[in-house]
Structure formats: C-alpha cells, structure tokens
C-alpha cells in the first residue's frame, strides 16, 4: 500500500497478533530451565533491619539479596538512592529486601511466609502535610526550584491591590492500571544475560544492568516484549525489576521470571505524585489579575527517582496557558516513607493544570465573569514570552479551537438550559465545564541534546525491505504503525515493505526512551531524515544502512539553575468542554457529553490519534472524579482494581473530537507530541462542570461522591 496523505489510517502492524491473543506478552513466555522469583518486602515504613531468619530451603530453591549484587546496590536512574535490595534501612512498606527463586510459585509463596525479619522501627513521615512541615530537616527536601518575578516587586503590587485571594489545592495519587501487570525475565547464558519484558525504556534498563552487574557492554542485552500498556508506569520502574531478575539469574545460573500479580502491582509500583499547590493572587477592583505566586509540593515517596524532573514539568506548567503579569513560582520534591512515585502520562503537568484551571475558574467568580471568558483574557498568543522567558514562537490556534467548540457545543444556550433545569430540579443538577491546556513536547530544556543524544538506523535488505532500528517501545500507542508510515512515505515505498522488529539493544542504537511525547516528534523526525538519506542512496537489491543523529535547534538556551529559557522546542494544545449531571442525593457524577479540540501539528494516523484522544481523556476525566487511591500509615489502601475504580465502558460517553492542523517545522510531516496532551484537560474540565452544576467550589481532585456530599452539607449549613 502506497501512502498518499500521511494522516489517512492504515491497518496496524500488530493487529493480527493482538486480536487473536497469539502475540506473546512476557507472562506468556516459558523457557527451559526457568525459575520464578518472589520478593520479600518490607512490612514497615521506616527502620533498620536487625535480623534475618530464613526457612530451610528445599533443593533447587535459593535466596538472592544484596550480597549477590556484583555492582553497587542501587538502581541507576538519576540519584543513587534506590537500593536494588534493601540491606540496612528500609524506607517504605513494600521495599524489596530479598528474593526467593525456585521452580514452583506455590512453594515460593509458602517459603516467603516463613521468612522472619526483625526491624528496629523509626518514626516515619507518612503524609505530604507532615513532609511540608518538616521540609527543612535533612533529607526531606530532595529537590527545589524557584523562578519568576522578584518577591519584592510582588509584595509592592500586593500592597496596592484591591484584594488578595489565597487558595490551597490538593491532587491525589493516580494508578496506571495498565492491563498487563509488570513482568520481566532474565535469560541466563554463560557469557550473557538477556533481559526481556514489558518496558518503555530499553537503554534505561541496560544502563541500570551495566551498573548492577558491573559488567561489559556485550554481557547484557535488553529486548522489549509486547507491552500491555505503560502510561509512564513502565518508564523507570522496570529498571528495578530488571536488576532483580538479572542479579538472580547470575547468582543461580538459571533463567528467572518475575511477574507481579495485580495487588502487588497496585501496592508497590510507582504512581502519579500527590501534590499540594498554594496560590496567592492579587486582584484589582474589577477582578483583574495583578500578580500570582504559586508554591507547589510533590510527594516523592521514599526515593527521588524521576521526581525532580516531574517537578520541573509541573512548575513549567504552573501558569497554564495564561500570560499572568508578575508571576512567581517555587516547588519542592519532598520525601515521605511511602511507595515511590514516578512517571505517569503528563509527568507533573496534570497536577498543575488541575490546579491553575481551578484557581482561574474561582477568580472568574470573583470577577463575576463566565470562566471561559475570563480565561480567554489571559490566553497566550504567538510571540508571547513563556513564564521562563522563553517564547511561544509558533502560531497558537487556541482562539479558533475555542470558537469552534462554543459553536458545536452550543455553549451559551446549554448553560442557560442547565440553569433552568437546575432551578426546576431538586435532585439532579447539570453543569458545563471547560479546560484549556498545552503540553511541551520532548524532554525539558536541553535534555535531548545533553542526555539523550538520540540515534536512529534504517537497514535495507537485498529484497528491499526496510527495518527500523530504534530503541522505542510500542506499548499500545501505535508507533509500530505510525513510525513505519513515516519511513514508507518518505521512501515512497509500500507500507508493507517497512518493518519494525522488537527492539533489542544488540541490534538498535539508543534512540532514547519512549516518554515525554517525544517519540513521534523527535524519533519520527530522525527517521524521516534517515529515510530521506536512504532514498538518495537507494540501490535496489543491495543491502544498505543509514544512521541519523539528533540535531539541536538552538533557541533561547535553557538554564536549569535560573529556570530560564525555552523549556520545550514546541507545544501541543487542547480545549475540552464537559457536560455532567450530578445526583445530589448520592453524589454520583454522570458524564453527559465531552467535546475535545486538539492541535498536535499534523496527525500521523487519524484512527490512532482518535485512540489517544479517547483513551487519554477517559484517564484524565477519571483522575478528576473517579479514581481514588490513598495511603494510610504508609500503606496503599486500594489493592484491587475495583477498590480503585478506573472507568468501565459504562462511565465513558462518546467524545466529540477534532484535531487542528498546524504543521511544525521540526516534526515529521509537521507532527508534534500527542500522547500525554489528551489526558491533561480531563480533570480540570470535569471539576469546573461539577462546580457549575452545584454552584460551589472545590479545592481538590478527585471530586468523589463523598467530597460532593460533604460540600453539599457544608453549603446547606452555611445557608442555614
């Protein structure tokens, strides 16, 4: 099939294997001489291991712990603070201490129950509030940044202001609930360990293994197997599992499989960081914003992991899509003795957008202006500076996108209809809410140039088949298809001639991790360039190979210390409108209609884009009102899917979506990032719809039925 318009959908490369169930995921793999691993995990939140007593292990069963690690005992990520196996201190409930390996899982679970470890318990930090209170104590603040207008100037402005509004906003955990639980297999060979499994970032894992095994480049190899959903949950977490199985395989000289069951996965793997955001905004007498200060706190859990980078993105989005005069922000990553938090689709931005959209919405009430109208007054335009003195240099289509939704949703009439409906109905209340948002594409700042340095390769066989040699994972988002399309189109050959074999670090260069809405824009662009190069050299019937390397386009240089410059090369944009009906008796929220407009440069495959929109929005909306995870005394309380409550088919409604073209020079065919963007607007839109229905304000997400009922009672009490 030759491709005419790049956006026209094609059959997905992996469709047949997935629809028939015959494409093996890691838990479907069995190899000769394979044993299983199970982990003994800390039952306490903070303390020192005093004694370890192991049961008598039957023949063929062995224990693996920190003594078996050939290299240093940490999972290589950014800091060296996450042990592979805790050997002295434990910092959270669920932290791995040792692994039992052997043939039968049932026997392993029985033996695990017989392991006796005693601890000397210490006073833990269980909550973000406690961590904020203790943030100046040693080790509690793991990272912090501050930038923007000087506080002296802000203080002077506040002094002359008509009014100062202060709000405190809280966001909860979000759990990925990828349908395939985490799983990793280490294949043992005398001269090589091959680690295979569910993952987003092959070279993160390879680098972690090189460190843990203290071995040479050619002694470890990482292969991605079919990955049943990631959403960020398989960004950094799999590095730890890879270390576990690889260390164990080395120690017992057998292949070792580690697959989590759902409850283990829910309790011990990374989640979206809970956040607390404080806003302090000064207004003039008409409700216009004079200045704004934002303080943002992220709960890192017990290890820093990627939290400092998550905080950067959270802060970079702390003013939303608005040009706020005299803006100042600071943020902290704080340690608690709870399960470490990490990457999740949006990477800090969903917390910030939920907060700023909520705050601006509340300011509009002060000014007695419709929230959307108020937001539009501050909307950034092309050429405006970013909050870090960078620049929005490409066209911004937000006004067009908003106008389009005002028309298609019949916004004004709907709001009047709802108001009438609400006057006539006691129990059910209807509301309409909006959210405006963006997402910076690719790594923050100079990350692509300084840390990732992506390389891609195309290999052509004698029969003119072309293979993509890149380290990026298809985890369901469809890059097996979209990236092959880019190469086929550029080479002007049929889509069926282009292949994307399972990435294997022995075969593929490091084209970077599959994160940060960078794959289509950055890797796709490199592939487009590689294909162009191959085309000029094309010799039919001859084996050929081409390589391309990342080229950095210099803009306003990013400075992480001063937090100034262009944080991202480009931005994708979105507008969501949501209609809800709230049952004031039960507090239940029912979605009625969802409208969504996006601008992602150029769509590479319309059907795949629609899948990202629907799936991302379902997750984003649910983050605002359905999905609730809590930790009590360091223990995650929701151990099963239904305790947690991700949306079912009955919770979602059809989504009326549209994507606007706005081609970006440095993206393939003009494409920018799309995967994370679609989640970000869900929660703030659902919050503003609920607020509109109930004529009240909330200072948190998720807005669960309990939160709604409490707020109605409070309101009733106040109105007496």
């Amino acid at each position: 099939m030759k491709l005419n318009d790049i956006s026209t959908s094609v059959p997905k490369k992996d469709h047949k294997g997935k629809v028939s169930g015959q494409l093996p995921y890691i838990s479907d793999v069995k190899v000769e001489n394979m044993v299983y691993g199970v982990l003994y995990r800390s039952p306490i939140a903070y303390g020192k291991i005093s004694t370890i007593q192991l049961p008598n292990l039957p023949a063929g069963y062995e224990v693996v712990g920190s003594e078996q690690i050939p290299g240093p005992n940490y999972v290589k990520i950014i800091k060296e603070d996450q042990p592979i196996f805790a050997s002295e201190w434990v910092n959270y409930i669920g932290e791995p201490i040792l692994m039992l390996v052997g043939k039968e899982l049932n026997t392993l679970y029985r033996l695990l129950n017989e392991v006796k470890i005693e601890f000397e318990e210490h006073q833990a930090i269980y909550t973000l509030e406690d961590a904020i209170y203790r943030k100046s104590e040693s080790g509690v603040t793991m990272a912090s940044y501050e930038f923007g207008e000087s506080l002296e100037i802000i203080s002077a402005i506040e002094h002359g202001a008509h009014q100062i509004i202060e709000e405190e906003y809280d966001t909860g955990y979000q759990e990925h609930v990828y349908l395939e639980p985490q799983g990793m297999l280490a294949l043992y060979k005398d001269d090589e360990i091959i680690v295979q499994g569910s993952m987003q970032c092959l070279y993160y894992i390879k680098n972690a293994l090189l460190s843990a095994l203290a071995c040479g480049e050619d002694e470890v190899r990482v292969i991605q197997s079919a990955t049943g959903g990631g959403f960020g949950g398989k960004e950094e977490y799999p590095s730890m599992m890879a270390c576990h199985v690889a260390v164990a395989a080395r120690a017992v000289k057998k292949s070792v499989m580690l697959v989590y069951d759902r409850s283990e996965d829910m309790v011990v793997t990374t989640k979206r960081h809970p956040a607390k955001i404080n806003y302090r905004t000064s207004l003039d007498k008409d409700g216009n914003i004079l200045s704004m200060c934002v303080d943002l706190f992220l709960d890192a859990g017990a290890n820093e992991g990627l939290s400092s980078v998550v905080l950067q993105r959270a802060l970079l989005n702390s003013a939303g899509v608005y040009k706020i005069p005299h803006f100042h922000a600071k943020g902290f990553v704080l340690k608690t003795n709870t399960v470490p938090n990490g990457a999740f689709r949006g990477f800090g931005a969903p917390q910030s957008f939920a907060g700023i959209e909520s705050h601006i919405g509340h300011l509009s009430k002060q000014a007695k202006i419709d929230p959307l109208e108020y937001k539009r007054k501050y909307l950034v335009k092309q050429g405006d500076p970013t909050i870090t003195k960078g620049n929005f240099r490409d066209p911004v289509l937000m006004e067009e996108m908003i106008e389009d939704l005002l028309y298609s949703s019949d916004y004004k009439k709907k709001k009047e209809d709802f108001q009438r409906f609400n006057q006539q109905n006691q129990r059910y209340k209807k509301g309409m809410g909006t959210s405006l948002f963006l997402h910076g594409c690719g790594f923050t700042g100079s990350g692509e140039r300084d840390h990732i340095k992506a390389t891609v390769k195309l290999v052509k066989t004698k029969n003119d088949h072309v293979s993509l040699k890149i380290s990026n994972s298809d985890m369901g988002q469809g890059i097996l298809t979209t990236l092959c399309k880019i190469v086929a189109k550029e080479l002007d050959i049929s889509y069926e001639q282009v292949f994307y074999p399972d990435p294997d670090t022995k075969e593929v260069p490091d084209s970077g991790p599959t994160v940060a809405s960078r794959t289509t824009m950055i890797v796709g662009k490199l592939l487009e360039r590689a294909a162009r190069k191959l085309k000029t050299q094309w010799l039919s019937g001859v084996e050929q190979e081409v390589e391309e390397h990342y080229i950095h386009r210099e803009m306003i240089p990013w400075n992480e210390k001063t937090f100034t410059g262009d944080a991202y090369p480009a931005y994708s944009w979105g507008v969501n409108f949501v209609e809800v009906e709230v049952d004031t008796l039960t507090g239940n929220v029912r979605l009625e209609k969802v409208y969504a407009n996006y601008e992602v440069g150029k769509v590479i495959d319309e059907r795949i884009m629609k899948g990202q929109i629907d799936g991302g929005l379902a997750q984003g909306l649910a983050y605002g009102y359905l999905e609730k995870m809590t930790s009590k005394q360091g223990k995650i309380q929701q151990k099963s899917i239904s305790d947690y409550g991700p949306p079912t088919s009955l919770d979602v409604v059809p989504i009326d979506s549209k994507v606007f073209d706005n081609p970006y020079t440095d993206g393939p065919y003009g494409a920018k990032g799309a995967g994370e963007l679609t989640l970000i607007g869900g929660a703030p839109a659902v919050q503003s719809a609920i607020e509109n229905a109930l004529q009240t304000s909330f200072q948190q997400i998720p807005i669960t039925p309990e939160v709604i009922i409490n707020s109605l009672w409070t309101k009733e009490g106040e109105e007496g």
Binding site: G21, D614, S640
Partner: protein
C-alpha cells in the same frame, strides 16, 4: 481425573480440583490467548466460554468444569464470527496495547450471539465486565456495532 471439552476436543487432566481454569488453560494446554489481568474476576482479560456463557476463568476451579464445554479465543479463531470481529476491531481502531482484547472479543461474541443488534447502551453493558485502559472504550463500542451490522444473520447460528 477431570474430563471436559476444550475447543471442541475432549481432554482430561489430573491437576488438583482447586487449580484455576485460567492456569490449566495457559500452563498445561499452552493456550496463551487467555490473559491474566487481575486474578480476581474484575478485569475480564481471562474471559472464556463455559457452556457458551462468558466467564472469568480466573474464578473457576477446575473441579467445577467436569463435562463442561470450554472455549477459549483459540477455539473461535476459525469461525466466521471471529473474522467479522477481527475486521471490525481493525476498522474501528479498537485495539491498542491488546492485552484486554482476547477477553473483549469473547465478550463481544457472547453479546452478539445473545443480541445480534444491540443498542449502544446494551453494548456498553455487555462489555462492562471487561476493563480496557487504553481506548476509553468508544472505539471498541464502535467495533461491536460494526460487527453487528457486517455480521447480520451470522450471530445466532451458534
């Protein structure tokens, strides 16, 4: 010894009666299309037909299936119904990570066999026991709707 029919073939096993049907299918019969997503009957990834009714195989001890007719995704791949669903899921874009899909296909087939022309609400109800985290369900609902149209007349043959 427990005897039952698996994908049209009479089979027997001497596994203990408490073993989960899911494990028997995957480990002893090496049929990998039935996936484990939760092990608690909440996600539907392990859906199979037990005497033509869709059930979560993770909740079924094999002691209870003596004489039963069990069908997994492998047992329906050759049917006309599967081909229609396969094509409809492809055209509607119902497949992303794919982990829920074999279970979703079983639920779709079960729904359409019972109700060849379901409304949108009936489709949503029909797959409400099957969790999908990638698609937000709408494109799966479209796929089932498409399969109902395309497969007009074939669903009730079963």
């Amino acid at each position: 010894m427990i005897t039952f029919t698996l994908n049209g073939r009479v089979v027997e096993t001497d596994a203990p009666a408490t073993v989960r049907l899911l494990d028997l299918i995957r480990d002893d019969f090496e049929l990998i299309g039935t996936k484990e997503g939760c092990g608690e009957g909440e996600c539907g990834a392990c859906s199979v037909f037990v005497n033509n009714l869709v059930q979560n195989s993770c909740l079924i001890p094999i002691g209870s299936i003596a004489g039963a007719n069990i069908q997994t995704i492998e047992g329906i791949i050759e049917t006309e119904q599967f081909k229609i669903l396969d094509e409809s899921y492809s055209v509607a874009g119902g497949v992303q990570c794919g982990y829920c899909i074999p279970g979703m296909i079983m639920a779709s087939a079960a729904l359409l066999s019972k109700n060849p022309h379901p409304s949108e609400t009936e489709i949503r109800e029909g797959i409400s026991g099957n969790l999908c985290r990638c698609t937000g369900y709408n494109m799966i609902v479209d796929a089932i709707n498409l399969a109902a149209q395309k497969g007009d007349g074939i669903w009730q043959k079963k």
